[in-house]
Symmetry: C2
DNA sequence: GACACAATTGACAGCGCTGTCAATTTGCAG
DNA sequence: CTGCAAATTGACAGCGCTGTCAATTGTGTC
């Protein structure tokens, strides 16, 4: 039969409640007792039954990671974040569950409610763009479910992890400027995503700082997908005055731009420079290897989860951690002809 | 306060046990009673508390998906499978948890034991190559944890999902042969993975059927990664008698082969045909778009999980479902010069 | 209409743990 | 030593559900 808390208590010569205290790392247990109990637990290979702990203690040891799977069926970005969140949860013996939450339709908040009512997660990790949907955040606060965000738009009242994407985008465009490019196009992401706004803002900031007047034709709306990158590139390359460089708001769209360049017989980077953002594995697999901004997604997932866990474990309020980015100059950018 | 089973019972005018029976879809409840209880549940928006159900009923409603994360940090293939498993679990109100399980070192089985002891999953979904590690399967059977496999090597005593990968590989090579290729190389995967064996066997079968004698120099060992595809291609292209086509055992390796071709100034498909296997999103993003075998990974994850759930819900024994593949002819293959 | 038997329903205990609160021990000032 | 507060420990009930088994109701047969 399985070893129960009661069995450990008997062996350690204490009451079950004391073992419970040690298990939950509570204060007010003498060192001697704590040691004795810990030894008994190890000797008996005691494994607490989480359903019993949940029922009695009214908590679930569950962290839910929410994501929008509208256009992200199996995105590498999310897989990496998930990996990081999982690592953090494991370290503190929390379970992780992943929940797609299609951000479409009226009943979005109701589906969040269902997740909470059905699974009672102790806390939630939000990924973009769910991080910024006000009604949902409101509901989470109402229901008092702690949450941490990955790259939220607002830095106020948020814990989790962020990166200075605007500065990163600006750095990327400055790289293109330093190569001598002046007609630099931007393929943006879904308009209301924070990532799109920051990256566009960084582009504009760099262009303005270089004294260039923005040509509206050079800014094309995309949707973070390969297909939208293809469409945007077709539009840009049909211009009378073509750009000499294209900065896409993520790597998937950049790959679409490169694809169209190839299709038209344009050489990258000789005829056109292309760069992206995120540094997913694809970036190195393309020919030529894609110049991009490295975003440490896995680490970001981990850090966001750790902030949440700090709150869940009553260890502190958690904070919004700023992660560093880096410009990865590879072979898809060069000086214009 | 939350609605409990007892509250539903009172409203429906029956005993709690009867509500429990309806909740668990048990036999021996009269239609009239079942209807009354169901209505009461809905009217009150009753949400059973899974920790209480688990504790009392000694089951967890948990399906664990195990994967080997040695070289698969955030593979698209696994992300798609996970997505399918999740959909199936959701449909039957089971929870899903993902567990990386590094298949290295002695304590591999012990780590499986820990997962079972800590989380008590009702069932497990195995992904390659974990599907074929005998000591692990033995342990699962000893501990009586039902499991279903995705693409297991052995079709005996296994439920889950499979694809005729050997036939698929043969079909791919026949496509190359029909284009006129004779010197066809193969970049294989990790030697003891079923996928590698089947794909290599299909290659050999097709070559033999065409009356060609195998040139050992044309079969290079890879490891399913981009980097290993690059290394293999360098080796192949250094040959005095180069291949005119390369069939890589997966898309990531194929992209490595294409990368090296580009590096050497070889045109795909004019100078060399390249093809892969799996049809991950990358395949369409490469230039030229990669000819490959489409494997419906998401669907396979779903079907494997459904077989497992059939067992868990006592609905039947489950079976090994055969999935169809398809040859996706794109632009990376053509007749040799 | 009486009987045997099957189908349906309910009473009750208890799953393994933790919250509450009371009892006991310890530490320390005087 | 004594007295008192703080620290430590324990007794006990109960979290919300299901397994077991007994009680009740329905069904078919002669």
């Amino acid at each position: 039969m399985r070893v129960r808390l009661e069995d450990v208590a008997r062996r350690a010569g204490v009451s079950p409640k004391t073992v419970s205290r040690v298990l939950n790392d509570e204060a007010n247990v003498s060192d001697a007792t704590r040691k004795r109990v810990t030894e008994a637990m190890e000797a008996m290979d005691y494994r607490p039954l989480s359903s019993a702990r949940s029922l009695a203690g009214n908590r679930s040891f569950l962290v839910a990671m929410l994501y929008d799977n509208n256009d992200n069926p199996a995105s590498t970005y999310l897989a990496e974040i998930q990996d990081g969140v999982l690592e953090a949860c494991d370290a503190h013996r929390y379970n992780m569950m992943v929940r797609p939450l299609r951000m479409r339709g009226e009943d979005f908040v109701r589906r969040l409610d269902a997740v909470i009512s059905d699974h009672h997660p102790d806390g939630i990790v939000l990924t973009p763009p769910i991080t910024d949907y006000a009604p949902l955040l409101k509901r989470l606060r109402e229901r008092q479910v702690p949450f941490a965000s990955v790259s939220p738009v607002s830095r106020e009242n948020n814990i989790g992890v962020a990166m200075d994407e605007q500065l990163a985008a600006r750095t990327m465009v400055e790289h293109l400027l330093s190569l001598g490019h002046r007609r630099i196009a931007h393929v943006s992401g879904i308009a209301d995503h924070g990532a799109s706004r920051w990256r566009l803002a960084g582009y504009r900031e760099a262009m303005a700082a270089a004294g260039l007047v923005e040509d509206p034709a050079l800014v094309v709306q995309g949707a973070f997908t390969f297909a939208s990158g293809v469409a945007a590139a077709r539009q840009l390359f049909a211009l009378k005055k073509r750009p000499t460089a294209v900065f896409a708001a993520n790597d998937d769209m950049a790959s679409g731009v490169m694809w169209v360049a190839n299709e038209r017989g344009m050489k990258v980077p000789q005829d056109i420079s292309v760069c992206g953002f995120d540094d997913i594995p694809l970036a190195r697999q393309l020919w030529p290897a894609l110049t991009t901004i490295r975003q440490p997604s896995r680490e970001m997932g981990k850090v966001a989860a750790l902030q949440l866990l700090e709150v869940l474990r009553g260890r502190g309020p958690g904070r919004l951690v700023e992660m560093p980015f880096s410009l990865e100059v590879r072979d898809s950018t060069a000086s214009p002809a």
